[in-house]
């Protein structure tokens, strides 16, 4: 832990641990530099990229790309969290460090829409290539009939700019980085999925009369 603060200076203020995880936070631009230090430094020696995942903290907040690293020398997992701007979600790729990050980054791009700059093969991996939306963002709604609707995935419902974001006001202060006590009560935070459904009248494109009259 001392090593971490020595070698990766900016983490000093953000170091956090629990029983088997050490956590540091960095800025998106420095991802490659920090991870290279962590991997190549002889005392740190985090040789394995255990996981790379993206987290969406809601439409009014930011994205986060989370890397989990493993080293034989240290008993704990190292979690590296990089904050990514939601309006312009860009972060440098780490495929030069670990080629195996390729599928992770493609998945994050596919699901969250985070662009990894410099990744040579940033294609969609799960969804079809002509898919427009990013299904794992928090503001991607799951209407009951999404799978049945003729334009599932590209209808305006799933485009954030058409939404009334006040709906998500309750999610605003949700930031696990902030002190735990600062969060509002649990029930207020997570809206019931059914409550997030827009009124049928807001459905504009792609849903025909036949769809509306179909028994639910």
């Amino acid at each position: 832990m001392r090593l971490l603060t020595e070698r990766v200076a900016e983490t000093a203020s953000t170091l956090w641990t629990d029983e088997d995880t050490v956590e540091i936070r960095i800025s998106a631009e420095r991802v490659v530099e920090v991870l290279r230090t962590l991997r190549d430094d002889e005392d740190l020696d985090f040789w394995m990229l255990a996981d790379a995942a993206a987290v969406d903290y809601g439409p009014t907040e930011h994205f986060e790309v989370v890397y989990h690293l493993y080293s034989d020398r240290h008993p704990a997992w190292l979690r590296v969290r990089a904050k990514v701007d939601r309006a312009d979600p860009r972060i440098p790729t780490i495929t030069p460090l670990w080629e195996g990050a390729m599928f992770h980054e493609r998945e994050m791009y596919d699901m969250m829409g985070i662009v990894f700059e410099g990744n040579p093969d940033l294609r969609r991996i799960y969804m079809s290539p002509d898919y427009r939306s990013f299904p794992q963002r928090r503001d991607f709604l799951l209407p009951d009939d999404a799978a049945d609707s003729p334009a599932a995935g590209i209808n305006p419902l799933e485009r954030p700019e058409t939404w009334d974001l006040t709906r998500f006001a309750a999610l605003g202060p949700l930031n696990p980085l902030a002190a735990a006590g600062a969060l509002p009560e649990a029930d207020a935070v997570v809206a019931d999925p059914a409550g997030e459904q827009p009124e049928p009248s807001t459905v504009e494109a792609g849903v025909t009369d036949a769809d509306k009259s179909r028994p639910r």
Binding site: A50, A53, V55
Partner: protein, 430 residues
């Protein structure tokens, strides 16, 4: 007569109607234009089949789908006798030699991560079951550990031992089936059926303890669903002796078989450095000589109380990956004996409320699944459902090896190498 002209009295093929548009798109994208009026007769353009009908999105895609002299693309899957589920491999071949390969995923994508954001912590454990359907117990293990860490409880010791027991049983049949699938993809019919006989016995055993044969739904946050019962124990006792004989049968069919060795040795070699770089984990990584096993590298209970050393092989070829599976079956049998010896008495379920609302926070839990490091990263916002639920599936990451390994091998080796990596598409596509 050209390919685009309709035959007399036949309905015009709608694909032909778009040929002009396709050719325009291809030319714009700098790809080989599909001929509209072909000079070479009806068979001209045969080698352009399966090039995507849109401009390439990345450099890599452009390179992959641009054909050189004498090359053609062969689609393996999603419907193919041996693609281990609905997976598609696009092979670029020159005669029978593969020059490049693209892995196309998503045919089984169910969005389990997204579904889990709308499910309570207990129901998430049922959603992850069908992920890696060969090792449903492992799928439940990591989320259960992560949620316990979030909630700040620990399963009682007996529950931990029962967990390890069912998980090792699951590993035995998963590895047994992998041997069978490898043999099947190389052309031997019998080992897979022996593998399934073994699987059936284990699965009946697990059904006796959990109530279900395939998607067990056995783990709970804070313990397991039921204690071991008489039927389970009697089946376990009868099975234990038979299992090693079963493995021996398969070994007799394959390990020393000259054809099998010729097909698998020095084939699809993953070097140490390559394996680490590509994120390969589990038996495939250990077959390359890296002694990384989550059970010993970052032990989760009760593995710190069990005698356990990771097994490694030297060469990292298909044959070594096969041997690694056999060695791990024997190791698991040994672990099961230890677990049965050391199993303490006590409750199997900690006191937890029906709907769990952990404090806001995050937890990371990783376990060793039969395919490698399977980890879960869960974020709680204080509500009854996880705010974010992320699963890292080992076979998803391992599949990246294919484009690196394949160039230079034959089509026939594609399936052998893929079977040796043992990907399960339910897990890959989540």
């Amino acid at each position: 007569m050209t390919a685009t002209e309709p035959r007399e009295g036949r309905v015009r093929d709608p694909i032909d109607l778009d040929a002009a548009e396709e050719a325009r798109l291809r030319t714009a994208a700098g790809m080989i234009p599909a001929p509209i009026a072909s000079p070479g007769g009806e068979y001209f353009g045969f080698d352009t089949v399966s090039i995507p009908d849109r401009p390439p999105q990345t450099e890599r895609e452009r390179e992959l789908y641009t054909l050189g002299e004498g090359e053609m693309l062969v689609n393996m899957g999603p419907q193919h006798p041996s693609t281990h589920g609905v997976m598609r491999l696009v092979l670029k071949v020159r005669s029978e030699v593969v020059t490049d390969l693209d892995v196309v995923l998503g045919y089984l994508h169910r969005g389990i991560e997204k579904l889990s954001e709308n499910a309570t912590y207990t129901t998430v454990l049922t959603y992850v079951d069908p992920m890696d359907y060969m090792s449903a117990m492992h799928n439940e293990h990591a989320p259960a550990l992560a949620f316990e860490k979030l909630y700040g409880i620990e399963a009682p010791p007996r529950a931990q031992y029962i967990r390890a027991l069912v998980v090792e049983l699951n590993r035995v049949f998963s590895h047994g089936l992998m041997m069978g699938f490898l043999a099947l993809d190389i052309g031997a019919l019998t080992p897979i059926l022996y593998g399934f006989i073994n699987r059936d016995e284990v699965v009946e055993m697990l059904a006796a303890i959990s109530g279900q044969r395939m998607l067990f739904n056995f783990f709970r946050v804070g313990g397991v669903n039921w204690d071991v019962n008489d039927e389970f124990l009697s089946r376990l006792g009868a099975w234990h002796a038979k299992e090693l004989r079963n493995v021996k049968d398969n070994e007799a069919l394959l390990t020393g078989n000259e054809i099998f060795r010729a097909r698998t040795r020095k084939m699809g070699v993953i070097s140490r450095q390559q394996a680490i770089n590509l994120g390969v984990t589990g038996p495939n990584l250990r077959a390359s000589g890296v002694p990384f096993d989550v059970r010993s590298a970052h032990p989760y209970p009760p593995y710190h109380e069990l005698e356990f050393t990771p097994i490694v092989q030297e060469h990292g070829d298909v044959y070594d990956r096969y041997l690694q599976r056999i060695a791990e079956i024997k190791q698991s049998m040994h672990l099961i004996e230890q677990i049965m010896d050391k199993m303490p008495h006590g409750p199997v379920q900690a006191q937890v409320p029906g709907i769990i609302r952990p404090k806001p926070g995050r937890a990371y839990a990783a376990i060793e699944s039969p395919r490698g490091l399977y980890s879960v990263y869960a974020i709680s916002d204080g509500g009854p459902t996880p705010y974010r639920f992320r699963m890292r599936d080992p076979s998803f990451v391992s599949l990246q090896v294919m484009p690196v390994l394949m160039p230079g091998h034959l089509i026939a080796d594609t399936m052998a190498i893929m079977a040796s990596l043992d990907p399960i598409m339910g897990g890959v596509d989540k």
